[in-house]
């Protein structure tokens, strides 16, 4: 597994805590939605940076009120064909203006990377060996023209307001 963030591999500073583990005094801590909801308000006010991991079926609404306290929202994709998390991501970015890290976790394949990025994910936890191989070899997704508004570094195309181009291709 490797963390691919904003187009490069990066170290992962986040620690996953389960119910039995004690909350550390500081650091980056990723909790399940249930664990987060159980966490006493006083503990939420510690020096720890919190993240919540949403499973499919768990909604953006469930953490909407807490987003100012969260530095990371991770969304699980149990199978690459399960696309619920794309909508969850867009709701977090567009409706709730979440500006922290948005991370996809699970079955993530090379040919979907742009879909993730364009829904507002800035980090992907990748396990698929073929995908890792391609990324390590420096391969990038190829599409530069998009027919609908997306998140991230895109510029509007003059031809229609919903059309966009990858920022790099527009400046090239």
């Amino acid at each position: 597994m490797a963390l691919y963030r904003n187009g490069t591999f990066a170290a992962d500073s986040w620690q996953r805590l389960d119910a039995a583990q004690e909350l550390p005094a500081e650091g980056h801590v990723l909790l399940s939605l249930a664990e987060w909801q159980k966490l006493a308000p006083i503990k939420r006010e510690s020096n720890v940076a919190f993240g919540v991991l949403l499973e499919p079926g768990e909604t953006a609404e469930a953490i909407a009120a807490d987003l100012s306290r969260l530095s990371l929202v991770a969304i699980t994709f149990p199978k690459f064909t399960d696309g619920r998390g794309y909508s969850t991501a867009r709701i977090l970015r567009d409706r709730y203006k979440f500006a922290g890290e948005l991370r996809a976790v699970g079955d993530i394949l090379f040919d979907q990377i742009q879909l993730y990025e364009r829904c507002g994910f800035d980090a992907l936890e990748i396990t698929d060996p073929v995908t890792l191989g391609l990324l390590e070899a420096g391969r990038k997704p190829v599409m530069t023209h998009f027919y609908q508004p997306g998140e991230g570094a895109e510029v509007r195309d003059s031809s229609s307001p919903w059309r966009g181009r990858a920022a790099t291709s527009a400046t090239a």
């Binding site: 690459f80 064909t81 696309g83 909508s87 040919d111 073929v130 599409m143 023209h145 919903w162």
Partner: protein
């Protein structure tokens, strides 16, 4: 028609390059079949019984002669010389090699065509009324809106991995020729009390193993909101649609389980919350898209059309063709001509490369260079001067394309069935051929009048059998093909699902059973003016059940 700008051309070229790379990775063994399958499907490449199949989109059923010639070229050069038009305004090639598919897609891109999203759990080819832009009864041409939806849904990052496939259709006239009520979303163009034009929104229709007629969830979606409203429906579906069972994953099941009212509330709430200003269709944008589909300059022609009337008076065959295959055009002196791809005893929807080229030539000579594809698996020349019809008719006859049977019992919709399809449980084409032979001679079909027979080779219902006046579903029982018959379905604005008459029939007896139903209809109809569907609606299924099961 719509012309690609640089943006569109680059998009499709990039997509072809991407697929070329994916195919290369697959052939080199770097992608497993499980990983590759969804990628090839998103580019229209299926595996059937004998070979791969490539499904090419014909957006809203509109083709230029140049595009049709390219399809002919592909059929000849990469396939076995023919193509098959489907009920979804697509054309399928039945024999391409995987290694050739990127080359085929790149040839298609040269004529502004593609196979993007002709499969997969995404928004499929958006379909429209085949008479769009030409029919006299039309409120507005649906194609500009289909094109807008096509663009917005292409590789949409949020909606490329939906629970299941998603089909949208738009009808432009009160008489629904696009079967909008059996689509995931059906938009019917309507005029509201203030005289504005917009869309009535139907959601949750579909066929397959559990057929449903769609529910209307909104009387009027303003044009400006078409994309945002569609996005709201898709988002509710993407988040709430079932993913635990492939057979329950279509939006129709969500609407059914949640209830149409709750679905409407959820969509309205989502729409209110997440309206994206970039997706609002301004009058300028709408006008621009409408201009792509402007009616060609049709020079005024004399009315009545003397050439046409003269031939009609002398030539009964021509008169029959004119009454069966030609409908009224918006512009007086013109007609909309359907070219039947249902020759008597032929394979519904199949056309050879030579026939495609012949139609392309005829479209240039007589029809302002436009061709349409109908969901009934026929072609249409939308703008023909009636005075040119005699000459057109003669040339159609030369190419074996003048079968005068639109809407008749021999104009059968049939899916490929077990002759090609790996999901099939029975053959459908041979049944269609035999029914066509049975009724196709001595004016019998014309005497019977309008009667739609649709055949599917399995429960997936690609042949629309549920919404046929007489529907035939091919199943397998203990290794033997058996055919279940329904009556009383309709795909138009009076949409209804057919009623199963009883136990199935063997391949040998199914054509006799259909004939018995038709003979019964002829006996009980009040007059020649009472067509099969109206008669069924008056008398119900009882007389048909009786003739099939009780007299035996």
């Amino acid at each position: 028609m719509y012309r690609y700008d640089n943006f569109d051309a680059t998009f499709v070229a990039e997509r072809v390059a991407q697929f070329k790379d994916q195919v290369a990775r697959r052939l080199a063994g770097e992608l497993t079949e499980d990983q590759f399958r969804p990628l090839r499907l998103m580019n229209g490449v299926y595996l059937q019984l004998h070979a791969y199949m490539l499904r090419v989109a014909i957006p809203y059923g509109t083709l230029s002669p140049r595009q049709l010639r390219k399809l002919a070229h592909i059929a000849r050069h990469y396939d076995k010389g023919y193509g098959h038009f489907t009920t979804r305004q697509n054309i399928q090639f039945n024999w391409p090699a995987l290694a050739d598919c990127p080359a085929i897609l790149s040839e298609l891109a040269n004529v502004e065509m593609h196979a993007i999203q002709t499969s997969g759990n995404c928004v499929r080819n958006v379909t429209a009324d085949q008479f769009a832009g030409a029919a006299a009864d039309e409120i507005e041409d649906p194609r500009p809106y289909c094109e807008l939806l096509r663009q917005w849904s292409s590789l949409n990052p949020e909606f490329s991995f939906l629970p299941r496939k998603f089909k949208i259709a738009i009808a432009g006239a009160p008489h629904d020729r696009a079967a909008v009520k059996v689509h995931d979303i059906g938009y019917q163009i309507v005029r509201n009390a203030d005289g504005e034009i917009g869309f009535a929104a139907y959601v949750g229709g579909g066929l397959g193993r559990s057929p449903f007629v769609a529910h209307k969830i909104r009387d009027f979606v303003p044009k400006a909101d078409l994309l945002n409203y569609t996005a709201a429906i898709l988002r509710v579906y993407n988040l709430e649609g079932r993913r635990d069972n492939k057979f329950k994953a279509r939006i129709k099941i969500l609407v059914h389980e949640k209830g149409a009212e709750a679905m409407r509330d959820a969509v309205e709430a989502e729409f209110a919350r997440s309206r994206d200003p970039d997706l609002v269709l301004t009058p300028e944008i709408i006008d621009r898209f409408k201009s792509y589909f402007a009616l060609p300059d049709l020079p005024s022609r004399p009315v009545p059309a003397q050439n046409f009337e003269g031939r009609r008076a002398q030539d009964a065959d021509f008169a029959h063709f004119a009454s069966q295959n030609v409908v009224a055009h918006k512009v007086p002196g013109y007609g909309v001509v359907s070219i039947s791809l249902k020759p008597i005893g032929g394979i519904p929807g199949d056309v050879t490369a030579e026939q495609m080229e012949a139609v392309a030539d005829l479209a240039e000579t007589y029809a302002h260079s436009e061709v349409r594809v109908a969901h009934e698996q026929n072609l249409v020349l939308p703008h023909v001067a009636l005075d040119d019809l005699p000459a057109l008719y003669d040339r159609l006859k030369d190419s074996n394309l003048a079968t005068p049977n639109i809407g008749l019992v021999t104009d059968i919709i049939s899916c490929p069935g077990l002759d090609y399809c790996s999901l099939a449980t029975a053959r459908s084409i041979p049944i269609a051929q035999r029914i066509s032979e049975r009724f196709g001679h001595n004016g019998r079909a014309a005497e019977i009048g309008e009667l739609h027979i649709n055949i599917s080779g399995c429960i997936n219902a690609c042949g629309h059998h549920h919404v046929a006046h007489i529907g035939i579903l091919g199943l397998e029982k203990k290794g033997v093909e058996t055919y279940q018959i329904t009556v009383g379905g309709a795909a138009d604005e009076t949409c209804a699902l057919g009623e199963v008459l009883g136990p199935g029939f063997s391949s040998e007896s199914v054509v006799d059973a259909v004939e018995a139903i038709v003979e019964t209809y002829l006996k009980v109809r009040k007059s020649r003016d009472e067509d099969f569907l109206s008669t069924y609606r008056r008398v119900g299924a009882a007389p048909f059940k009786e003739v099939l099961y009780e007299r035996a």
